[in-house]
Symmetry: C2
Subunit: 184 residues, 2 copies
């Protein structure tokens, strides 16, 4: 078991239980590694594990979800590609978002800067698509924020209602909401 493999397991634990709830016991069980082995891969302990998770997810998000937004496809198609990846990433809305989770408790103090940066990266990438579609920078920023709001809110509702439909519907609506008024 190398570190990247371990990190993938860690992601699941932190997403399900949050920072405080992600105990070394649960992490040990999820990875199959003993506690001492975990400290071989992450000498600074749980805090480093969470940081590694955040970095891994940040890169995955950048390469898998935001990359389609910068492709040569037409704008609407780029948004649809992002939506498809989001559906996969969040398991149709059943898995929580680390960015939301890490704004709670201790992890907020530790990782607020990274969370802020990742949210802005997402918003900026979305806004760029709209600017290319002829929307003003100011309007593009507002619509991009609204899109992130809708995805995050849909995650909460889908998990709370135990029904993936709100999340699916929100993803379907994204291209329309973002590019309304553009020549499509």
């Amino acid at each position: 078991m190398d570190r990247p493999q371990a990190v993938e397991k860690l992601v699941k634990v932190f997403r399900q239980y949050g920072y405080e709830g992600a105990t070394l016991s649960r992490i040990s069980q999820a990875t199959g590694l003993g506690k001492a082995s975990l400290y071989h891969h992450f000498p600074n302990g749980k805090q480093e594990m969470a940081a590694a998770v955040l970095q891994y997810v940040g890169e995955w998000f950048e390469n898998t979800i935001l990359m389609p937004l910068r492709s040569q496809e037409e704008p609407a198609q780029r948004i649809r590609l992002m939506s498809d990846r989001l559906r996969q990433f969040y398991d149709c809305g059943r898995s929580a978002c680390l960015l939301a989770i890490f704004t709670l408790g201790e992890s907020d103090d530790l990782f607020h800067a990274q969370v802020n940066q990742m949210l802005n990266a997402w918003i900026d990438s979305l806004a760029e698509v709209m600017v290319e579609s002829g929307i003003s920078a100011k309007q593009a920023r507002l619509r991009a924020e609204d899109a992130v709001i809708q995805v995050q809110g849909a995650l909460v509702l889908t998990r709370g209602l135990d029904d993936t439909e709100p999340f699916e519907r929100t993803l379907r609506q994204l291209p329309v909401n973002l590019l309304e008024g553009c020549h499509l």
Copy 2:
């Protein structure tokens, strides 16, 4: 210190730290009560404290936020009243939502049913306003869900960006989003 007073303090702790992060030490400090005293008011311990918090918030939500939706004001005004109460309740978006927090970790297993019920109560109350405004039941339900999505998502973004503007803007937009197409 009687139990209702204690519960009000508990709400803050659970909202800030989540279920697992709300330790008896923090609760003891926040309430000024020793751990043993807490067990006088809540014999079943932390689980009962969280349940009391959820019930208290549920009643407060019902009486303070949903009540205006059933008033005799015109629909748009009812939505505006709800938005004002929401702004107060969530401290302009700086305080997290217990319903979102309790869908994580252990607390999800314990309180999923209550969270589900409270979200549905909110959605139903919103939908009722729209039905009275001439919107079909089906459409009303969809718009109501969207409103909850937007409030929850705006909370995540406002907290993540450390900027209350997205939350404020979302609340301002609610009447328009919900009653678009109605004679206002």
